[in-house]
């Protein structure tokens, strides 16, 4: 339990967001373009952080489906900023040794002629620490 809340506090510190403010209206999840791809939708993320369930989130592929499009941040009536919370969990996971989601050796198989540098730079910022 102690470890759970320590991890939750780390997520809150890194994100600068305040999940306690959430009133569970679900507007973030309704706005999320990745809703159908996620095991835990954005409003669930926020609730799980409040209850210290960070390791479950770190083990879920859901964290790698967030697009950082900020629709949830824009539309949250309580200023909770779910995208920052998702990112913080991604960061906590990927700062562990061997937990990067993308490896430079994966790239040759992924790239096509048209892919812009912007895509690769962005993906590495998101999926590798």
């Amino acid at each position: 339990m102690k470890k759970d809340m320590e991890l939750a506090n780390e997520v809150i510190r890194i994100s600068g967001a305040n999940p306690i403010r959430c009133m569970k209206c679900g507007k973030c999840s309704a706005s999320c373009p990745s809703f159908n791809e996620m095991e835990y939708a954005p409003h669930k993320f926020v609730d799980m952080v409040v209850h210290g369930r960070i390791e479950e989130l770190m083990e879920s592929k859901s964290i790698f489906h967030c697009l950082s499009c900020f629709a949830c941040v824009e539309r949250c009536p309580r200023g909770v900023e779910p995208a920052k919370i998702v990112e913080a969990i991604r960061v906590v996971k990927q700062r562990q040794i061997g937990e990067n989601y993308l490896d430079a050796n994966d790239i040759p198989a992924i790239v096509d002629e048209q892919i812009p540098q912007q895509a690769l730079v962005s993906a590495f910022r998101k999926f590798k620490k």
Binding site: R13, S68, A88, V91, I110, Q117, Q118, A119, V121
Partner: protein, 260 residues
């Protein structure tokens, strides 16, 4: 007034049209730019983690260079504009980031967010003026039904970007009107194309793109315009069966100004 121009990584490679037609158009409009020496890539995405300083440094160096020249910083790519604007806000409002970044960079004078970051579209709207722009059009794009694709990065979060109304933007529609074409408003114009997810999960990007293209075609768009090379890539390369022609907004501008 000379603007310091920040092209960013992709405008020198996969998005050359976005850059070339912008330069030609600005020349036709009598606006002088000079590319920043030694600019560095902004990183493509804004580092959201509050304790990440290193990933913000390239933007801070760019912003400081513009400050030292005493010029506003002109951006064109949506992602560059997003990242530079948000890092600039951090340097203005976040004491911890400001202190640690300045401590590391050790510029002649500390950088405190003095540079004005201005997007090309805002320049057209506020410096040139869309009425004036309309007067300079030599090839009006009459009868063309064009949909503006905003995507995410120019609009959100609106409290930091302050670019346009995040839910009902109008700057690109006003731009299309100024060029003599007909703007078509459609519901998915400010929804995400999938962005960087196409690197790790193409099918997820395809689902997003298909909704955008279907929404645009249903409302009668014949063509879309964008300011973002990654939106361009996803809309073109990761669409499912149904496709739509996509152009950079600067290419349309150059065409209307007769410099294409």
């Amino acid at each position: 007034m000379i603007y310091s121009y920040y092209p960013g990584c992709t405008l020198k490679t996969k998005a050359k049209e976005l850059d070339i037609y912008a330069r030609k158009s600005l020349e036709a409009l009598g606006i002088e730019i000079e590319e920043l020496d030694n600019w560095q890539c902004c990183g493509g995405v804004y580092p959201l983690a509050k304790d990440e300083i290193a990933t913000k440094l390239s933007s801070i160096r760019t912003l400081n260079q513009a400050k030292e020249l005493g010029r506003p910083l002109l951006t064109l790519c949506s992602a560059c504009h997003h990242v530079l604007t948000r890092v600039n806000n951090d340097m203005k409002t976040n004491g911890d980031i400001n202190m640690r970044a300045n401590n590391y960079c050790a510029f002649d004078e500390p950088y405190n967010g003095e540079t004005q970051v201005i997007h090309f579209l805002t320049l057209l709207k506020e410096v040139v003026g869309f009425d004036n722009l309309a007067k300079k059009v030599v090839n009006p794009l009459k009868g063309r039904k064009i949909g503006a694709y905003y995507g995410c990065l120019l609009l959100r979060p609106s409290n930091e970007l302050a670019f346009d109304d995040p839910e009902n933007p109008s700057i690109l529609e006003d731009f299309i009107k100024a060029l003599g074409a007909t703007p078509v408003v459609y519901p998915f114009r400010n929804e995400c194309c999938g962005g960087y997810i196409s690197v790790t999960n193409k099918s997820q990007a395809t689902k997003n793109v298909d909704k955008i293209v279907a929404s645009a075609k249903y409302k009668g768009c014949e063509q879309l315009i964008t300011a973002c090379p990654l939106c361009m890539y996803n809309l073109n390369e990761n669409a499912g069966a149904d496709k739509i022609e996509v152009k950079y907004f600067t290419e349309l501008l150059a065409e209307a100004l007769g410099v294409k």
